[in-house]
């Protein structure tokens, strides 16, 4: 285990440490996998900053889209109206999931304090109180999540004080999540801020441990059909899943303390939930792997079984699943044979760590991974894959499509999984989706578990066999970067060491 084993979280603090502070996270790096592992172990990761940057995302967006499906809660975004803009779609998108696939009833409501120039001058506490009272009056929610913004951070609004002053008037538990993006260059710090605030304010001591309850922090990329697949597998072991926090009720979150284990799907998203629930309530957890690919799904189930007393059952379940899967998988693998198909993996921590292994199981070679941010916890697991997937290149960038475009042009991989809003569908090979999203209930939206391997494997195959859309656009649509960009060799051309920054890596 790595040096980060004993990094505690401090739930008495208003919010979490930043990812930089706690895990030595960085969002700019390029090097071979083995070098990365060595750099992290030595605590020698360079902290780079870019002179040229593109818009990325912020803590607030990272937090908002993840918590807004909590069933009997209201969200208040405390800031100017635009900060809440990206929340406009989700209520409707989630309602698309059919009820007969198990979607619970919910009404998702959010408010913005809609700060104006006058509020910025005079302070926003009055409007925050107004919004909290409106939420209470309209919906009597069990919890109200308050998300702060850069603007309220700079204004110095006393959010906790404003909430405290209403304690007699609100029946809801108010959970302030600090999402001032100016705090951290790693927007994923928001994941920790959600977990910190929820465990601090909402989660209660256990009444009794629920021995069959597996809590699963699930980021936005865990689809409804992924849940169905994980539920199916856990069901075979006589276990139930509680996903955190999507579609959970407030009460279900309140009793996360009763889970038998907190099982991972994405370290960047889930690590703080695990550590905080463990430290405050003693809930056990395991950090790796994600249930992605055949070997890692098997290992994930074994780990779950270990903490739930199902060790006697688990090997039989895995054997049964693999017996069912093997002929179908062989049929799929035969279609990849002799093609030397190459895949460039761009995505978040979990997919970057485990998709190359899944691809290897199918006979697909990963050329490189491009992660949004890396930290010591991710690299500890990624390092284990080097033997399987080879000493591939690792690129880290908080979006920054100009760098991804550079790497893509150099590697010319058959398939690339980049985010569609980066414009990389204008390439010669296929742009294939990295994963689908929380609201996807189609079978093809399933990537986790055993069945997910087949679903995603066939997506990769079809993408490889017919990149006609990309070819149609490649070369016909002008890119916004000048020609010199891809003609010079250095993808990190604009990055240089941050003056005065401590190194990243082990903490």
């Amino acid at each position: 285990m790595s040096a980060r084993e004993n990094v505690p979280v401090d739930l008495s603090a208003k919010t979490c440490l930043t990812k930089e502070q706690r895990l030595g996270s960085v969002n700019a790096y390029h090097g071979k996998l083995t070098k990365l592992v060595a750099d992290v172990e030595a605590g020698d990761l360079p902290v780079l900053r870019r002179a040229f940057q593109q818009t990325e995302t912020c803590s607030l967006m990272q937090a908002a889209m993840r918590i807004l499906s909590i069933r009997d809660a209201v969200i208040v975004v405390h800031g100017p109206v635009g900060c809440a803009a990206s929340m406009n779609s989700y209520r409707e998108i989630f309602r698309n999931i059919p009820k007969d696939l198990g979607r619970p009833d919910f009404e998702l409501h959010w408010l913005t304090t809609n700060l104006t120039e006058t509020d910025v001058v005079h302070g926003g506490e009055t409007k925050l109180k107004e919004a909290l009272l409106l939420a209470e009056e309209r919906y009597s929610p069990k919890a109200i999540f308050v998300i702060t913004t850069c603007t309220t951070g700079i204004m110095g609004d006393d959010v906790e004080g404003a909430i405290e002053s209403l304690s007699d008037e609100l029946t809801a538990t108010v959970v302030p999540i600090h999402c001032e993006s100016i705090r951290s260059a790693i927007s994923q710090t928001a994941f920790d801020a959600i977990a910190h605030a929820t465990v601090k304010y909402l989660v209660k001591p256990a009444r009794e441990v629920q021995k069959d309850l597996v809590a699963i922090p699930s980021p936005y990329s865990i689809t409804w059909s992924d849940r169905l697949e994980l539920n199916r597998l856990l069901g075979k072991l006589g276990l139930r899943a509680q996903y955190i926090p999507d579609f959970a009720s407030v009460e279900e979150l309140e009793y996360l303390s009763e889970a038998a284990v907190v099982a991972p799907t994405c370290q960047s998203y889930g690590d703080y939930w695990q550590v905080a629930l463990h430290e405050k309530f003693g809930v056990p957890y395991f950090r790796h792997p994600s249930p992605l690919g055949v070997a890692n799904t098997s290992e994930w189930l074994r780990q779950v079984a270990k903490f739930t007393g199902k060790e006697d059952l688990v090997e039989a379940v895995i054997a049964e699943e693999i017996a069912d899967l093997t002929p179908k998988l062989d049929e799929l693998k035969a279609k990849f044979e002799g093609k030397d198909l190459s895949l460039l993996v761009s995505g978040g921590q979990s997919r970057c760590t485990f998709l190359p292994v899944l691809a290897h199981e199918l006979g697909i070679r990963t050329t490189a991974i491009q992660a949004l941010e890396i930290d010591s916890a991710m690299v500890e697991e990624l390092g284990k894959s080097a033997e399987t997937i080879g000493d591939i290149e690792v690129h880290v960038s908080n979006w920054q499509p100009y760098e991804l475009t550079h790497m893509d042009a150099r590697l010319e991989s058959d398939l690339h999984t980049a985010c569609p809003m980066m414009g990389l569908f204008r390439r010669k090979g296929a742009l294939v989706r990295m994963h689908s999203f929380r609201s996807d209930f189609s079978k093809a939206g399933n990537q986790l578990g055993f069945r997910g391997v087949l679903q995603y494997g066939y997506i990769l195959l079809r993408a490889y066999n017919n990149p006609s859309l990309q070819r149609q656009l490649s070369g016909s649509v002008a890119l916004p970067y000048k020609k010199w960009w891809t003609r010079q060799p250095n993808m990190l051309h604009y990055a240089s060491p941050e003056p005065g920054a401590a190194s990243g890596g082990a903490r």
């Binding site: 100017p80 109206v81 406009n88 409707e92 998108i93 409106l134 100016i182």
Partner: protein, 446 residues
């Protein structure tokens, strides 16, 4: 709710209050959504790291319209952090601008300022002045998010173009107009609507400069001062820009709301024709020709539609432009009964009575209830008080319709169940498309 003299009702919660799920965003977003839709304009967001992506994401919430050349995650940005908040963001902007000029291929560079530089007091203009050259001009749009809404941001962009890029009047080109007031994404069908208006105006000999969404890039901005008339297609958005253009370039303007259907489109063409002194006979000939085709199509659609039109009292929840155009069309030409019009874009107080007037006395004297509301709960309350079996709204209201078991067509932002690229509900062509979309919901064997 307080009653106005026009009979319209203004919801309790106004544009400056805490609001539930408003459909519009901030000034910064309005300006960015405008800037990214002029080809080869390179916006640089001088703001927090997520502001650009958050606002660019509105293209997705508007029917997944795509990020194009410079939207999505591609927009250059200073991505301000703690250091800049403490020490100021000017050095970071200078560095970012210099690198952007070096790397990004564009014809005009536009710095959009968010909340942070406004709060820390960055002198953005002096940095821009240092780096701007005639070959690579840079302008600044002041759009602190807290300074106003999407609509204000749209105007801020146009005003910055006028005062910093164009500056001087140019020789007027006869029979040419600029189209103002259709805000990208906020008006869902902006691209298709501008195309249809451009087509119609060209038929009466008028060259329209749509400014946004065409392929001529900053040439469209450069043509602004040479238009002989500015046409404001919203009853209120774009008026401020038109006033600035009038003062600066001496260009008069008319407010001629975006039309849908035969009557309003003919009236629109007549009003533009009259303002430009175009031969009435020529205009009438075009109207007659377009109407002949439109009437034939309407006649074909009437077989299904006539079975349903009296069974479909309807409510609409939309920005002023769509609310007015679509309500008038369905009431005046298709035989539907409007029961409720909810206007969601928070027009200024003085604009509300004239807007209400446009949706009053429709058909043979129908007066729907009119509510001005931006707050989702207020909107929901207004809808709960009315009877309707067709709801024209944003996808936020879509599930209210399905819960009620009635028909729904998405006509307003946000829209999360259609791909929108060229769709238009404007003019003659758009009217029949709109009717197709409405009647497809009710399609059934006769």
């Amino acid at each position: 709710m307080s009653h106005q003299s026009s009979g319209a009702v203004t919801a309790v919660r106004g544009a400056g209050d805490a609001l539930e799920a408003p459909k519009w965003s901030c000034a910064f977003g309005g300006a960015l959504n405008a800037a990214t839709n002029v080809d080869r304009v390179i916006p640089i967001t001088h703001s927090g790291p997520g502001c650009g992506q958050n606002q660019n994401y509105r293209s997705y919430s508007a029917g997944s319209q795509g990020s194009g050349y410079i939207g999505g995650c591609v927009t250059p940005s200073s991505n301000l952090g703690e250091r800049e908040v403490v020490f100021g963001g000017e050095d970071r902007l200078r560095e970012q601008l210099a690198a952007t000029l070096e790397l990004m291929d564009g014809d005009l560079y536009v710095v959009l300022t968010g909340c942070i530089p406004a709060m820390i007091g960055d002198d953005v203009e002096s940095v821009v002045r240092e780096l701007s050259t005639p070959r690579k001009p840079i302008i600044t749009v002041e759009t602190a998010g807290f300074s106003g809404s999407t609509y204000f941001g749209y105007e801020q962009f146009l005003k910055a173009v006028a005062t910093q890029l164009l500056k001087k009047p140019r020789k007027k080109v006869a029979h040419s107009v600029n189209l103002l007031g259709v805000v990208p994404y906020q008006n869902l069908f902006w691209r298709g609507d501008l195309t249809e208006i451009t087509r119609l105006l060209s038929r009466i000999g008028v060259t329209a400069n749509q400014i946004f969404g065409d392929s001529i890039g900053i040439e469209s901005l450069k043509r602004i001062p040479s238009a002989s008339l500015n046409v404001v297609l919203s009853p209120w958005v774009g008026v401020e820009s038109a006033e600035v253009f009038e003062e600066q370039f001496g260009t008069p303007f008319v407010v001629a709301p975006l039309p849908t259907g035969l009557g309003d489109t003919a009236a629109f063409l007549r009003s533009i024709g009259a303002a430009l002194g175009i031969d009435e006979i020529e205009v009438e000939a075009v109207i007659a020709d377009e109407e002949a085709r439109a009437v034939r199509r309407l006649d074909l659609a009437a077989e299904l539609t006539s079975q349903f039109s009296s069974a479909l009292p309807f409510a609409i929840v939309a920005d002023t432009t769509e609310a007015v155009a679509l309500t008038r069309y369905l009431a005046n030409e298709i035989g539907l009964t409007p029961t409720l019009v909810v206007v969601t874009d928070a027009p200024p107080q003085e604009a509300q009575a004239p807007i209400a007037e446009l949706v009053t006395g429709l058909g043979s004297g129908l007066d729907p209830r009119i509510v001005f509301a931006s707050d989702a709960y207020d909107i929901d309350q207004a809808l709960k008080g009315e009877h309707f079996s067709l709801l024209l709204a944003s996808s936020q209201e879509r599930y209210l319709a399905s819960d009620l078991g009635i028909g729904y067509v998405g006509v307003a932002y946000p829209l999360n169940n259609q791909l929108v690229i060229t769709r238009s509900y404007a003019g003659y062509e758009g009217a029949i498309t709109f009717l197709e979309d409405v009647m497809s919901v009710f399609f059934a064997p006769v």
